[in-house]
Point group: C2
Chain length 324, copies 2
């Protein structure tokens, strides 16, 4: 099948829906770019989306997230699930070593019809990844993926937010003094539904488990009264060890969410957050455009000549805003 | 003279212009409150403002800013200058010990016709003090103050910004290991035109002076080619020591600014920043109102039913915004 042209979004979407992977890749590039093509793609995918389940995987750099993702996807794949993987990298795709690493490690799935893998990077537009990721997730859902795995580095507010915006979030730590404490500091404790102690064949794995359980105790995660207490799973991802246990813990959490009102509540919160974020981003964008406008300079002159005061100038500037 | 009613802004302004201090106090309360009364006051004062010179005084808590301000104002007062003092407190006026301290220390000027002293606190609205302070400064200018002294605690971005938005900024440090380094960290180094080592009768004053000079060297303040190298003045404010030197340094800096293009440039930058800040604040306010609106909830329902996607919902929400 010939890939439709970059600009023919409806044709690309039709092709992607019927399983044409290069078309799907082009649509994801549109979403990454964040301009008109992203809006058009999102509008087409939205009515068809919502049928997938998202799994976030995050942790500090070097924790082995990519290896773990790859091993877990292999385990999921053996259940004949259709899977989309988004590896979110906050740096440019052309400089990041992580991306190359992902690709190498994940290439075992690369030719697998049931697994679609994609690295996404910001193109520098503000709020870019936080807004692009849910769009990409919906596109993967709309084109038939049952599970969407979103891997991000757990550093920085945006990345933690992205990882925490999944249905189930897995936080990866390593054995070693203080790793659990670091996870707590970075806000990862709050978003974790499942903890993975990866590289658990190293010294200190038991201490790390004890630290995690202790911090869960402190934060009131009793697991009683129908609440969920994050499970702690030990893995050695590079050897595929612990993948059955991890996959079981993820499915158990999914069952917990689905059998309570929690899944619906989580998704509602997420939808609220997304709409609020889009509104804020649009208004911030407007503020930037206004400040760069000729009208801004004209009004500044009027202020200098004391013809109008700054508040009046702001009113006029905001009154002159384009209707977009 | 009877004080005009709180709501009669034009009458209050007329009275304040003719020297009626309770009317001036009421107008400053309006500015502090930040609502319609503030806009009306600002609009009246703006055409009459611009004739004063602003002096910012900032430093860490406990550095002796209030005592120093009081002593410096006493020195300025002996030159028969008309002075307004704004003591900016980021906390509530009802909880802050600092305010009470200010009042006690400054009461020596309280009955002085040429000095008007006012504590200003945020009322909790965002961007409050950063936007209220320039309004208050203009009101004090418009009602005849030649010098406006703005004292803020040099902690937090907003406070440092306010202090740095003066024509001349004095940064107060104390003798003691690392105080100069702390000032550097807090961003005070960048905004200082004059450094004061207050409590300079204590041990370590020479070290602090050396640290400051060293950091000025590092930051490229050579004082050559017509540039200004911040002066370092030693004071013991509680005894009034060093006030002649400090006042001289401030006046020297003013002369430097006025004899170059720097004063005009500074004020232009400030006017740009203020207008940009008002625009941003108005748009943020709009975002908050939109997110609390019924329309937001209606559109969220439409998203849940997959009738419209979030971007379309945001467009409609922004299209429905009131013209304010």
């Amino acid at each position: 099948m010939a890939t439709p042209s970059r600009s023919d979004i409806p044709a690309l979407y039709e092709a992607a829906r019927s399983g044409h992977r290069p078309s799907l890749a082009r649509l994801l590039s549109q979403i990454e770019r964040g301009a008109e093509g992203a809006r058009a793609t999102g509008a087409l995918a939205f009515p068809d989306a919502g049928g997938g389940y998202t799994l976030g995987i995050t942790g500090a750099p070097g924790a082995g997230k990519s290896t773990l993702t790859s091993a877990l996807v292999a385990r999921m794949r053996s259940d004949e699930l259709s899977i989309g993987v988004l590896a979110i990298d906050p740096s440019s795709p052309f400089t990041g070593g992580a991306i190359l690493g992902d690709r190498v490690r994940m290439q075992e799935h690369a030719l697998d019809e049931l697994v679609f893998i994609r690295s996404m990077a910001t193109r520098g537009h503000l709020g870019g990844l936080a807004l692009a990721t849910p769009e990409a997730v919906r596109l993967l859902e709309a084109t038939g993926r049952q599970w969407i795995v979103v891997e991000t580095v757990g550093v920085g507010q945006v990345e933690v937010e992205i990882a925490g915006a999944a249905d189930t979030t897995v936080v990866v730590v390593n054995p070693g003094w203080g790793d659990a404490v670091q996870a707590n500091k970075a806000g990862l404790m709050e978003i974790a539904d499942v903890f993975v102690i990866n590289k658990s064949d190293r010294a200190g794995a038991d201490d790390t488990r004890r630290d995690l359980e202790y911090m869960l105790d402190l934060s009131g995660h009793t697991g009683q009264e129908g609440g969920w207490r994050p499970e702690v799973v030990s893995t050695v991802a590079i050897d595929g060890q612990g993948m059955d246990e991890l996959w079981e813990a993820v499915q158990k959490h999914r069952t917990h969410l689905e059998s309570s009102s929690e899944l619906a509540e989580r998704r509602e919160r997420r939808a609220n957050d997304e709409l609020a974020k889009i509104v804020t981003e649009q208004l911030e964008d407007q503020a930037r455009r206004l400040q760069a406008s000729e009208e801004f300079q004209r009004l500044r002159d009027d202020i200098d000549h004391r013809v109008i005061d700054p508040w009046e100038a702001a009113s006029r500037l905001l009154g002159s805003r384009p209707a977009d």
